[in-house]
Symmetry: C2
Subunit: 250 residues, 2 copies
């Protein structure tokens, strides 16, 4: 078997998320359908992470065990010819048999894009959250620094989650301002994420920017003392999985 890592970019608008679901279109299903055509047998795909319904990716990682060899530089073209235009495989490479796209992921980088124009920019509407309200960027940047590092993110996960270990490390939480394009982009990179964690942190930072949440409340939340500081969960279409990092990365 030829264990293969592929990098995938997709527009999540039309999908229920990365992971297979019985009655809704998923990225995984589309990939497995294309792989079944190429390899003439079922091929199971393992993604680095589920992305939610409507969430996009520029650099999702996934692996599968191919029954026979196809050159790594040919495989993306073969797959893209079979995939719908909103899913594109951008690279493929052979990896050791033991490689697992989810367990071996070291870090993931997400972006969350805010459209700051007075009226929604229609050509960006599927990939950004329209929020024209004034925001205090200085305050947002101060709050972002509080999230960086290792914390218990118990309050920054979707209600009803039952993960036992809620400690995660964030390597990067910052905001890039593109005033010429009326865009604000949050970047959040971490060792791993709880369910809805990126969208909850982004929503929290937006509240700070609107001056409706004070920094000490975030500090208390990260010490497990203030569940009210987290959120709201911003909508999925502003979120994009930019990159998944593996030890094998060049």
């Amino acid at each position: 078997m030829y264990n293969t890592l592929v990098r995938i970019t997709y527009d999540g608008t039309a999908y229920s998320g990365f992971q297979f679901q019985a009655n809704a279109p998923s990225i995984q299903e589309a990939l497995e359908m294309a792989l079944a055509v190429i390899y003439k047998q079922p091929v199971r795909v393992v993604g680095a992470g589920r992305t939610d319904s409507g969430v996009h990716a520029r650099g999702q990682g996934a692996n599968f065990k191919a029954p026979f060899h196809i050159a790594a530089d040919k495989l993306p073209y073969a797959l893209n010819a079979l995939l719908p235009p909103d899913i594109v495989v951008i690279s493929a490479k052979k990896v050791p048999d033991s490689f697992h796209a989810r367990f071996d992921a070291r870090r993931k980088l997400y972006s969350y894009t805010i459209d700051r124009a007075d009226y929604p920019q229609v050509l960006r509407r599927l990939y950004s959250f329209h929020l024209p309200d004034p925001l205090d960027l200085g305050l947002i940047r101060k709050a972002a620094r509080l999230f960086a590092g290792t914390h218990d993110f118990n309050f920054f996960q979707a209600a009803g989650s039952s993960v036992s270990d809620t400690i995660r490390k964030l390597f990067r939480v910052d905001v890039a301002d593109y005033p010429a394009d009326d865009l604000l982009v949050f970047y959040i990179e971490g060792s791993g994420f709880l369910y809805h964690m990126v969208r909850l942190i982004t929503g929290t930072l937006i509240r700070v920017g609107k001056n409706t949440l004070a920094l000490p409340e975030i500090e208390a939340a990260l010490e497990g003392l203030n569940s009210g500081a987290a959120g709201p969960t911003v909508p999925p279409h502003g979120l994009c999985l930019e990159k998944v990092y593996y030890d094998s990365d060049d």
Copy 2:
């Protein structure tokens, strides 16, 4: 009657173009449906220009004669609440009774976006033409300068067009390179355009960039001597009507 100029941005993906067509969705029809709800009677919309099926706009102009007054700063919100999310009115203002969005348009600026990434950028696929081939930007810029000014663009219109006056003036023909985003954007601004003229000029410039068309052939085409220099017509989804200029512009 309150003659009103509106500026409109739209994603042309789902439309047959700006202008009303009996059996296909158009921007004009969507606008007229929203206006009919607001004014409780049919309201005819005049656009600055048709845009083709699949062509986008960031700053289309249109006017209509409203039967009663609605404040210019309220009207976009009222319309946007009724319009689908891929059409957004970004401004409205009262104009003289004689104002006509098409006849009074002085200049129009179009952009044409090329996606230069090795594989298509899926989050840009609806708004750019994927063309990863090497292009000689220096040659393209030299060729672009040939188009600027007043010329007979007879060879730079769709076959079968029957416009009698094919002389137009181009104020700007240039190319902006955004290597960090793997994008190349052509900007073409003129007093008016023949059918498919922007897409034919862009296609011509791309051939120059690929080194398959020499500059003297363009000069000959603009002197009416070489019909073979024009085109091909690049696909519509890379094209965007950026702005329509009126004398009344601030």
